[in-house]
C-alpha cells in the first residue's frame, strides 16, 4: 500500500530525513520509535504532504502512485490520515462543522453528492459513541481549550469519521490517561481491517500492548537503523536507545 524509497527531506537545506525505506502493506500495523528529534514527525508530515518540507531525493508511493505532486488534501482524499502530535486549535469552527466540511469536501473530490444531513448526524453519533465523546464537546471550537488528552481523542474521532486507508498516529498516546488510552486504542482496533494499515509513532510500549504491531522500526538521525517484531519494542523499553545508537555508529 505505502512504499517509501530512499526518502531524503528537510527544511531550507537542512536535511532531516536521510534515506528512509519503508513498506507498509494492507492489514499491517507498523510502529515507529526513536529518540526525540530523530525525524518521526517529519516523516509523518512528509507522507501527509506538508509543503514546508522539501523532498530532495527518493519518493513516497501510495498503491504504486508517486505522491510527489499531490497536495495534502489530495492525499487525504486518497485515504491518508495523520493524527497530529500537536493538533492545531481553530477557534470559531466547531468540531461538527469541521467534520461536515471535511467529509463533504472528500465526497466532492470523489464526485459524490453531500452526505444527507440525517446520515451525517447518525455517523457523528455512532463515532462519538465509539470514542465515548460527550456530544457537547462536538459543538465546541475545534481543539480550542481542549486538554491534551481531549485533543488526542478528538484526532481519533476524526479518523473514525474519515475511515482512512492509511492512518499515521503520531504520539497519540501522549497526554492520554489510562482509561482514555484504552478507549482510543479500542477505537483504532475496531477500525482496523485487512484493507487498511496503521503506522503508530510512539515512545512507549504501553500503547503497543493494545495496538499490537507487526513490525517495529527505530528511527535515528533521519534513518531507520533497526527493524524487528514487537519484541524490539520491549527491548527498547528495557534498554533505551544507547545500544542502537552504538550499533548505528559502527
Amino acid at each position: 500500500m505505502l512504499k517509501i524509497n530512499n526518502l531524503h527531506a528537510g527544511v531550507e537545506g537542512n536535511e532531516i530525513l536521510k534515506g528512509i525505506d519503508l513498506e507498509v502493506n494492507a492489514g499491517e500495523v507498523h510502529a515507529i520509535m526513536g529518540p526525540n528529534g530523530s525525524g518521526k514527525s517529519t516523516l509523518a508530515a512528509v507522507i501527509a504532504g506538508k509543503e514546508e518540507f522539501e523532498v530532495t531525493e527518493g519518493n513516497v508511493l501510495l498503491n504504486g502512485e508517486d505522491l510527489e505532486d499531490a497536495a495534502p488534501e489530495e492525499r487525504a482524499h486518497k485515504g491518508i490520515f495523520l493524527s497530529f502530535q500537536y493538533p492545531v486549535e481553530i477557534p470559531g469552527v466547531s468540531v461538527t462543522n469541521f467534520m461536515k466540511t471535511a467529509i463533504n469536501e472528500t465526497r466532492k473530490a470523489k464526485g459524490l453528492e453531500d452526505m444527507p444531513a440525517n446520515e451525517m448526524l447518525k455517523l457523528i453519533r455512532e463515532k462519538s459513541e465509539l470514542l465515548e465523546i460527550d456530544r457537547k464537546f462536538l459543538s465546541r471550537s475545534l481543539n480550542e481549550g481542549f486538554s491534551g488528552g481531549e485533543k488526542k481523542r478528538n484526532e481519533i474521532f476524526q479518523m473514525a469519521m474519515l475511515e482512512p486507508q492509511l492512518a499515521i498516529l503520531d504520539e497519540t498516546d501522549s497526554g492520554l490517561d489510562i482509561d482514555a488510552l484504552r478507549i482510543v486504542a479500542n477505537g483504532v482496533n475496531k477500525l482496523k481491517s485487512k484493507n487498511n494499515a496503521v503506522i503508530v509513532i510512539t515512545h512507549y510500549q504501553r500503547l503497543l500492548e493494545y495496538i499490537v504491531p507487526d513490525f517495529v522500526h527505530v528511527l535515528h538521525e533521519g534513518k531507520i537503523v533497526k527493524s524487528g517484531d514487537k519484541e524490539l519494542a520491549h527491548e527498547l523499553e528495557d534498554k533505551g536507545y544507547d545500544w542502537i545508537k552504538q550499533e548505528a555508529a559502527v
Binding site: A45, F84, G92, E105
Partner: protein, 438 residues
C-alpha cells in the same frame, strides 16, 4: 465650483424648504458657518492622515435630487431583513418612502426626523436632544447639521420596548448622475427602554453616491441599545458615518459595524459615558477587496468611574484594499475602576493590501484596567495544513480560517436572522461554499 462652495451656496436654496423660524434653524445656521470656515478635512489633519476625500470633492454631486423617485418592493426586498418582521424607515434618494416603510406611534415613536423637526408634539424631545451630543466643530458633522431635515426619529419612552427590530434603509436609485445624501437620525432610549436598529445604505446603480450621515443616540439609565451597521454597498458608493452616543448609568450600548462593500467608508464612532456602570461595546468585521477603503475611527470617553468598554475589530484585506483602525480611549482623572479593552486583528491576503492600525490611549486615572492589542498577519500555515490534511482543499481551508477569524465577532449579534445573513455575506465575500449551514 468645488463641492464645498456648491454646498455652501446650496444652503440658501435649502432654506426655502425649511421652517427658518424654528429654533433648530439657528443650529443649522451656526453649523453652516462652521463648515464654511473649516471645509472638508484634509490629509494634513492627523485624524484624516490615511483617508483622502480629495477625489470625492471633484465629483459634481447633486445636493438635492431633482425628482421624487419610487421603487417597487420586489426590486429591493433582498436588502430588507425580510426573514423577520421589522419596523422600517425607508428613504429613496433622501426622501421618505411611505410605501416601503412601516412606522409606528404605538407607545413608541418610530418615524421621521422631518416630522419631529416640524410638529409641536416632538418639540420637547428635539429641544432636549437634537444636536446635543453631535460635535459642533467637526466639519463633516456640522455640514450634516446644516442640512439636517430628514432621517429616522426614534423615541422610546421609559420602560418601553418596540415589538420588533427597526430597519433604517437608504436607497439611491441612480436617477442623478451623482448624488450626495445627508441623513440625520436621532434615537432616544429613555430609562429602561430597549431597542434594536439595523441600518443600511444601498445604491442600486453604479452612479456615484456620497452619504454624510449623522446619528445621535441617547441611552438613559438602564437602557439597552443594539445598533447594527450593514455596509455592503455598491463599489461606487462612499459613506462618511458620524455616530455619537451618550450613555447614562447602567446603560448598555452595542454597535456592530459590518464593512464589506462601498468605495470609501469612514466610520466615526464616538461614545461618551456620562454615568457609572456603563457598558459600551464596539465590534466590527471588515472584509475588503478591489480598491476599497475603510477607515474606522472610534472614540470612547470614560467620564465617570466604574464603566467598561469593549472593542473588537477584525479585518481581512485582499487585492488593493486599504484599511485604517484608530481607536482612541480617554479615561478622565475621576474615572477610576475603568475597564477598557480594545482589540484589532487583521489578515492581509494580498501583498498589495494594507492596514494602518493605531491605539490612542489618554489615561488620566490611575486605577484602571486597559488593554489593547493589534495584530497584522497572514493565515496560520500550520492551521491550513491541518485542515488540508483532513481533505479540505486549500481554497476552502483558507476561507474556513478567515470565516472562523471573523466569526467570533458575530457571537454578540442578538438577531439570529441577521447573524446568519452576515455569515452568508462573509462566506460569499470569501468566494467559497462552506460544507455546513451557516
Amino acid at each position: 465650483m468645488d463641492l464645498k462652495d456648491k454646498l455652501v451656496s446650496s444652503f440658501m436654496a435649502f432654506e426655502n424648504n425649511v421652517d427658518v423660524e424654528h429654533p433648530v434653524h439657528d443650529i443649522r445656521t451656526e453649523a453652516i458657518k462652521n463648515f464654511e470656515e473649516k471645509g472638508f478635512p484634509s490629509k494634513k489633519q492627523e485624524a484624516w492622515k490615511y483617508t483622502s476625500l480629495k477625489g470625492l470633492q471633484k465629483v459634481d454631486f447633486s445636493i438635492f435630487p431633482k425628482q421624487v423617485n419610487t421603487l417597487e418592493l420586489k426590486e429591493v426586498k433582498k436588502y430588507f431583513l425580510h426573514e423577520v418582521d421589522t419596523y422600517k424607515i425607508v428613504f429613496i434618494d433622501g426622501n421618505y418612502s411611505p410605501f416601503l416603510s412601516e412606522t409606528t406611534h404605538d407607545g413608541v415613536d418610530i418615524c421621521l426626523m422631518s416630522a419631529a423637526l416640524t410638529k409641536p408634539m416632538y418639540k420637547q424631545v428635539i429641544d432636549v436632544y437634537f444636536n446635543k451630543i453631535a460635535s459642533k466643530d467637526e466639519s463633516l458633522t456640522t455640514l450634516n447639521t446644516a442640512f439636517s431635515r430628514e432621517g429616522a426619529f426614534i423615541y422610546i419612552p421609559k420602560n418601553k420596548m418596540p415589538k420588533k427590530p427597526i430597519e433604517i434603509l437608504h436607497f439611491s436609485t441612480g436617477n442623478e448622475a451623482s448624488l450626495m445624501l445627508q441623513p440625520r437620525n436621532l434615537i432616544v432610549a429613555e430609562e429602561n427602554a430597549e431597542l434594536q436598529v439595523i441600518e443600511r445604505h444601498q445604491s442600486l446603480t453604479s452612479n456615484e453616491v456620497l452619504t454624510n450621515a449623522v446619528t445621535e443616540i441617547f441611552a438613559a439609565e438602564n437602557a439597552i441599545v443594539d445598533f447594527y451597521k450593514v455596509q455592503n454597498d455598491a463599489k461606487t458608493a462612499s459613506l462618511i458615518d458620524n455616530t455619537y452616543i451618550n450613555q447614562k448609568d447602567k446603560s448598555v450600548v452595542k454597535v456592530h459595524t459590518f464593512s464589506f462593500g462601498g468605495k470609501l467608508t469612514r466610520n466615526n464612532l464616538n461614545f461618551y459615558q456620562n454615568g457609572e456602570h456603563i457598558d459600551s461595546t464596539m465590534k466590527g468585521v471588515t472584509i475588503l477587496g478591489d480598491k476599497q477603503h475603510v477607515d474606522h475611527h472610534t472614540l470612547v470617553h470614560h467620564i465617570e468611574p466604574n464603566c467598561e468598554s469593549h472593542q473588537d475589530y477584525k479585518g481581512i484585506y485582499g487585492e488593493n484594499s486599504t484599511g485604517v483602525f484608530n481607536g482612541k480611549i480617554i479615561v478622565d482623572k475621576i474615572a477610576q475602576k475603568t475597564n477598557a479593552f480594545q482589540q484589532n486583528n487583521n489578515i492581509l491576503i494580498s501583498d498589495k493590501a494594507s492596514i494602518n492600525t493605531k491605539p490612542q490611549l489618554e489615561i488620566f486615572a490611575d486605577d484602571v484596567k486597559c488593554s489593547h492589542g493589534c495584530t497584522i498577519g497572514q493565515l496560520d500555515e500550520d492551521a491550513l495544513f491541518y485542515l488540508q490534511s483532513r481533505g479540505i482543499p486549500n481554497k476552502e481551508a483558507r476561507a474556513l480560517l478567515m470565516y472562523a477569524f471573523a466569526n467570533n465577532v458575530l457571537e454578540s449579534v442578538r438577531i439570529p436572522e441577521l447573524k446568519s445573513r452576515i455569515n452568508k455575506i462573509i462566506a460569499e465575500k470569501l468566494g467559497v461554499r462552506l460544507g455546513f449551514d451557516l
